[in-house]
């Protein structure tokens, strides 16, 4: 259980708006962390600070022992390779077909040969159940399919950790399952994951730890059982009562 990611007193301010107010936390290798919390609580911002897509205002973000906050853009590019990210809005490259989406970064960043990149890509597409769609363009895929391609694309770089920002909340309900299935498989394979989601079922089944974020702080941390069944914090209780009521 080595430390993969370590966050110390992380803050982020947009203008006047203090979005993160001092976050601390550790993600060990092989762990699945699920981050839950109300809208606007800073979950996305936190996730984006982990791979420095967003520059933290203060505090430290260490990845595999290196503090990222002081690194140059070039050095960061090398780090980001190892941290896959999946977005709520999929963000597939709309000017390329599925295969090119998967092979672009390996070829350009890791200088992989076309053939090798393609073989790897097809393996990954099989893993997410979309080998037959390799020539399709993103526009012609359903939301669930796009998100599975996006996961495969991130995996194509062989990352050490995967960050998910509400990967299912833009999906029609019947597509949510197929994406969660892929993520579940990934977790079983031992991938280190940080997942922002509202899918409490998933959190309960897959998470090693659940972090509840509200107002720029991690209000409560614990195992799924601790958080869902015995929440300590008032805001956690309130949030869960609303979300689980349905």
């Amino acid at each position: 259980m080595t430390e993969m990611l370590k966050v110390e007193n992380l803050t982020k301010t947009f203008g006047e708006n203090k979005v993160l107010r001092g976050i601390d936390g550790t993600v060990n290798s092989g762990q699945v962390i699920v981050v839950i919390g109300p809208s606007g609580g800073g979950k996305s911002t936190f996730l984006r600070c982990l791979n420095l897509l967003e520059k933290p205002t203060s505090g430290k973000v260490s990845f595999e022992g290196t503090d990222l906050t002081g690194l140059s853009e070039k050095a960061l590019d090398d780090i980001r390779e190892k941290m896959g990210m999946v977005f709520q809005s999929f963000n597939l490259f709309s000017n390329m077909n599925v295969l090119d989406n998967l092979t672009l970064a390996p070829k350009r960043v890791k200088n992989e040969a076309e053939a090798k990149a393609q073989t790897h890509a097809i393996e990954l597409l099989e893993k997410v159940g979309l080998a037959d769609k390799k020539a399709a363009y993103p526009d012609s895929l359903s939301g669930g399919q796009q998100q599975r391609v996006a996961i495969a694309r991130a995996l194509a770089m062989d990352p050490d950790v995967m960050l998910f920002d509400e990967p299912t909340s833009a999906l029609d309900p019947e597509m949510v399952g197929e994406v969660l299935k892929v993520m579940q498989d990934l977790a079983s394979d031992g991938m280190t994951m940080v997942v922002v989601t509202h899918e409490m079922g998933f959190a309960r089944q897959v998470a090693n730890e659940v972090w509840f974020m509200d107002g720029g702080n991690i209000a409560e941390k614990g195992t799924p059982e601790q958080i869902f069944d015995h929440p300590q914090n008032e805001r956690t209780k309130d949030f869960l009562s609303k979300v689980l009521a349905q």
Partner: protein, 492 residues
């Protein structure tokens, strides 16, 4: 009007007698140089050669008759009458005005009719016939108004048109004090103003007035009745010295012409040539003019668009750059160009840049101005295209470890190009329209050509309408093609 020199009528009249007496006196002293066989020589040859410099309509000018160049005009008709009366054929030799008298002296030509004024200097080297035409100043009016006006004094309180910088403007300023004057550069614009009731008359040389009147049934002309200070202008035929017998014979023809008022007819038919039968032919007759204009308009636009896209890309990159010494100049350029009219930019390039760089041709200046203008707009289109690629696309690329530059090249720009190309198409279409402004510095685009057709046909509105429809057809067709291409691309 240099050729037909002014001279003092009064002076000549009062001194006429004395002068002749004096010349008579000299005449008795002067030896007779040679026998006068001039008339005889012509009759023997059976042909009389006329020298002329055919660049002075309606006196003499070149026109296309059945596809061939031909010298026509009042002087030619006078010469034809003379040849007919002499019973010989007429041959016309074209030459520079300066060479005409030399040609006479060396007997290359037998007579010169070229709107020539019999000045004293010239009289020293050649003989002159009697003047056969006296230029007068007239006022062109609408035919239905002709009875309203007698002469220049009938226009008190009204507006007359004059050509800017002309003798007539000067005359009108001095001698039509109670009348407002409207100065325009082109006679055709004046005619148009007259026909559209913007002015009540046009002060013009009689020959010009005759030509227009002959050509347009809605017009008439009246004598202006200016006080020309006792001066008059006259046009006479020049012959080699000591051609008295020929001169006398020709003077008889001229007397006949004057008696029958034939010059009036001659001018009318010259006017018809000038107009190349516009009364009855349609605008199709001038399709070469319009075609040339379309060609230039499209050429200017195409070159400007290409340069505009290249420069615009640079400016867009500059504006997107984070380095201030690249960013701000690009911003300033784009904002300044977009904040000022193209018209003034065209003037600025033509005169301002022309100051630094010798001999900048108008076409070049026009293209450069339009291109520089377009560059600013294209830059904004490109920036807009890049901005409209969702930021998620870059973030996805960055999260995969790609550099910003790489992300731009492989992901953002290809998508931006697809987004902006309809806008670039629209920019091209609007440049077709905007490029019309280069006509102000004399680039021969469609607008310029429409003015040329106005000048050639003496019709104002028809060429405007034709050019307008041409513009519309071009822009409409192009935008349909663009739309179709765009839809096809979206389906792909």
């Amino acid at each position: 009007m240099l050729r037909r020199k002014n001279y003092f009528k009064q002076l000549l009249l009062s001194l006429g007698l004395v002068l002749f007496a004096f010349i008579g006196l000299l005449g008795t002293i002067t030896p007779v140089h040679a026998a006068d066989n001039s008339l005889q020589r012509i009759k023997q040859k059976g042909v009389i050669v006329m020298g002329t410099s055919p660049d002075y309509p309606p006196y003499e000018f070149i026109t296309k008759v059945n596809g061939k160049n031909k010298v026509v005009g009042m002087d030619v008709q006078v010469a034809q009458q003379i040849a007919k009366d002499l019973g010989v054929k007429l041959e016309i030799k074209q030459m520079d005005f300066d060479s005409l008298l030399v040609a006479l002296e060396t007997h290359k030509v037998d007579m010169v009719l070229s709107a020539m004024t019999p000045t004293e200097t010239r009289k020293q080297s050649v003989d002159f016939s009697e003047p056969y035409y006296h230029a007068r100043q007239s006022i062109i009016v609408r035919k239905q108004d002709k009875r309203l006006y007698k002469n220049k004094d009938s226009f008190k309180g009204k507006t007359v048109g004059v050509q800017t910088g002309s003798l007539q403007q000067n005359l009108a300023n001095k001698q039509m004090k109670g009348t407002k004057k409207k100065g325009l550069t082109k006679v055709t614009d004046l005619i148009l103003s007259l026909e559209t009731n913007k002015i009540e008359g046009i002060v013009a040389e009689d020959a010009v007035a005759q030509a227009y009147v002959a050509n347009d049934s809605r017009l008439a002309s009246i004598d202006a009745g200016f006080d020309l200070g006792g001066d008059e202008t006259g046009t006479a035929i020049a012959f080699a010295k000591h051609s008295d017998s020929l001169v006398n014979q020709v003077n008889q023809s001229l007397d006949k012409i004057k008696a029958k008022h034939l010059t009036k007819q001659y001018l009318a038919s010259a006017g018809k040539y000038m107009a190349t039968n516009t009364q009855n032919v349609s605008m199709f007759h001038y399709w070469t003019y319009f075609a040339k204009g379309i060609g230039y308009t499209l050429l200017i636009t195409a070159i400007a668009v290409v340069i505009g896209i290249i420069l615009g890309t640079l400016f867009a990159m500059g504006r997107l750059s984070k380095r201030t010494f690249i960013h701000y100049p690009a911003v300033w350029y784009i904002e300044f160009v977009r904040g000022t009219p193209l018209m003034i930019q065209v003037m600025f390039v033509y005169f301002g840049v022309g100051m630094l760089w010798n001999n900048i041709p108008a076409f070049f200046a026009g293209v450069v101005a339009v291109a520089l203008n377009s560059a600013a707009y294209v830059a904004e289109i490109i920036r807009g295209g890049i901005d409209s690629v969702p930021t998620g696309q870059v973030e996805a690329a960055r999260s995969l470890g790609m550099s910003h530059r790489d992300a731009m090249q492989t992901v953002v720009l290809p998508q931006a190009v697809k987004i902006i190309w309809p806008s670039l198409g629209n920019e091209f279409i609007s440049l077709i329209k905007e490029s019309s402004i280069v006509s102000i510095i004399g680039v021969t685009d469609l607008i310029y050509q429409l003015r040329a057709v106005q000048a050639a046909t003496y019709r104002g509105v028809a060429p405007i309408a034709v050019a307008m429809i041409i513009y519309f057809i071009i822009t409409f067709t192009l935008s349909r093609i663009l739309n179709r291409a765009e839809r096809k691309m979206q389906h792909d």
